[in-house]
Amino acid sequence: MLAEFLQYLFTGITIGATYALIALGFTLIYNASHVINFAQGEFLMIGGMATVSLTAMGVPMVFAVVLAVILAGVLGIALQRFAIAPAKQADVVTLIIITIGASIFIRGIAQMVWGKQYHVMQNFSTNEPIQVFGAVLNSQSLWVLGVGAVMVVALVLFFTKTLIGKAILATSMNKEAARLVGIRTQMVLMLAFMVSALLGSVAGIVVAPITFTSYDIGIILGLKGFVAAAIGGLGSGVGAVVGGLTLGIVEAMTAGYISSDYKDAVAFSMILLVLFFMPRGLFGAKVVERV
């Protein structure tokens, strides 16, 4: 009984941590620019695929990871600079379509460069699973959780302790005011996209040994990240983490205890339920409309 439960929990937390990292990426960009970036999943894909192909070319793992993350970061900046920034006045839906176009474009390039096959990435440490009260835990799960935790702490420090982080926060709260006090909002927006891309690519790298990686892995994981962000409440960092973990755990528990057929349906019903009672997600800011 306990072993079973633990097993589902491990599965849920691992995948949930991935969702959380993606959701954080959504949150970051949403906060800075109020854009829902449907290309978020592609950062994840770039991270995993670039690392795999670089190591295959003989680049040592550590350098491969660093290069992949940098590549994703550059891509994030490019996305903001060339796709989002020129469309300042666009409608919310129009921006969504632009990011969808961007994600199709990135995916197409990746498919041309890296092909359509799935690729394997080795576990960072041992392949031997760890036994905990009869449940087994993939050692890579610990990496996912550990790296996830480090990223969250780093983000918190970034936003509370660094000037750049504070500038992003200020811009998200009031763009005009931020500009008036001398913050270069365009820079800040690019930065937000970059950090978000870094987050995504790191998630893509740590999770790749568990999920494999391919040019199209970003579609569904990106979508799940959006779901997680919405459950938690768009724009809330805590919400993104809680939303991601909740989604992962609910999926695993449903697959384990209820029906694997309807696992995804249950996850989506959960969103409806959450939004039904809390129209702005679990931790979403309560906004009073000014009229």
Binding site: E4, Q7, Y8, F10, T11, G12, T14, I15, T18, Q111, K116, Q117, Y118, V120, N127, P129, V136, N138, V207, I210, T211, F212, S214, D216, I219, I220, L221, A252, M253, A255, G256, S260, D261, K263, D264
Partner: protein, 385 residues
């Protein structure tokens, strides 16, 4: 370079270069072979080798003088694994390109979406997809080259029975391949007096199947586990299976019968069995095996041309094209009814997938025996029987 250019340009119309060499072919109109395949998208691991095979052998046949003295022209579209675009491209092939025969349909969904059109337009159609519904009940104009999933289920369960297994745990994908395979397995198990005691599914995009496997492990009486699915899902299942330390005999379906599966699953695949065509183990076939030559030739030609590992899915296209050619030759024309009849009466064609014996009641022509049971040993396929 030129080759890749050619592939990219146009509809991949590999029209005869052989025209100059063959006097008769010079004047002759090409025979149009239409194809719609899932070259990109989630089923690209099927469509990609299939297209490569078709391109390569159409070229080869043209170099050797074509069919009935006429060159072949391959007209191909990519349906991205989407059934409605498959249907639309099938319609384009029939109505706009006016092809003589169609060899294509990587997935069952794509095939079935095109079937009503083929039946109405009366165009011979050789499908490359697996599900038993494609040719059962028999449809006048529809044939197929892969063994059906039903045969795979029969073959797997028979092998289990030989090992004294009667209670199995089943885990399948929710995609077309997995869910049709699941249905067939449930039916076959009942006929063979075996019991499916656990029945789990996962969706194509899932990244962890530990929860489902835990359920199967905890089900009382499971003696072996069968995973029916294709794509990366079965590789994840295999790895999760190993991580959970499940000791029971493990079976996969023919959906993952390729070397890339071994790469993905790694050492976790050790000891698992699956039914496959002998293409994966050409060298371990006995000398007197009728398939030995054709299998070895296809493998070496494909690998030389594309610098990529051969897969059993490409072989479906090989057999499809060869059956089409043979039928046209026997019919002596491209008259659809004549070609259809010739197809229906093909007997003793030894292909890469197996030996085909078509009949009006059987538009597949293969038996479950054409599947060989392979086991993964030391990271390689090993022929069991």
């Amino acid at each position: 370079m030129l080759k890749t250019m050619m592939r990219r340009a146009g509809k991949c119309a590999v029209v005869a270069v052989a025209g100059l060499m063959m006097m008769s072919a010079q004047a002759a109109e090409p025979i149009k072979i239409g194809s719609f395949l899932s070259v990109t998208g989630p089923a690209s691991f099927l469509g990609d080798p299939e297209l490569k095979t078709l391109e390569m052998y159409v070229e080869k046949i043209n170099e050797e003088g074509g069919v009935l003295g006429r060159p072949l022209e391959l007209i191909h579209y990519d349906d991205v694994g989407n059934a409605s675009s498959a249907r639309n491209f099938a319609s384009r092939l029939i109505r706009s390109d006016q092809v003589d025969i169609i060899v294509g349909g990587s997935t069952t969904g794509a095939t079935m979406a095109a079937v009503p059109l083929m039946e109405q337009a009366q165009v011979p159609f050789i499908s490359l997809a697996g599900a038993v519904v494609i040719t059962t009940p028999v449809k006048k104009w529809v044939f197929k080259t892969p063994q059906s999933d039903r045969m795979a289920a029969e073959r797997i369960l028979a092998d289990m029975k030989d090992r004294g297994i009667t209670k199995i745990g089943l885990i399948s994908g929710t995609d077309g391949f997995g869910s049709s395979g699941r249905t067939q397995t449930l039916e076959v198990a009942e006929q063979m007096g075996m019991e499916v005691v656990a029945d789990e599914t996962y969706s194509g995009s899932d990244t962890d199947m530990t929860a489902q496997l835990t359920n199967i492990r905890n089900t009382k009486g499971v003696e072996a586990v069968l995973n029916f699915g294709f794509g990366q899902g079965p590789a994840i299942v295999t790895r999760n299976y190993a991580q959970l330390g499940i000791e029971l005999p493990f079976y996969q379906s023919h959906g993952v019968a390729s070397d890339s599966f071994l790469e993905l699953a790694g050492s976790a695949a050790e000891g698992l069995r699956l039914p496959a065509s002998p293409l994966l183990v050409p060298d371990s076939l006995p000398e007197d095996d009728p398939q030995k030559d054709v299998v070895q030739n296809y493998k070496s030609e494909y690998e030389a041309r594309w610098d990529a590992k051969v897969s059993t899915f490409g072989a479906y296209a090989y057999d499809g094209l060869m059956l089409a050619v043979r039928a046209i030759e026997e019919a002596g024309s491209t008259d659809p009814e004549a070609v259809r009849e010739a197809l229906e009466n093909i007997e003793g064609y030894v292909g890469v997938t197996g030996e085909f014996n078509m009949s009006p009641d059987d538009h597949n022509g293969l038996t479950a025996d054409s599947f060989r049971i392979l086991e993964v040993q030391n990271g390689n396929w090993k022929l069991i029987d």
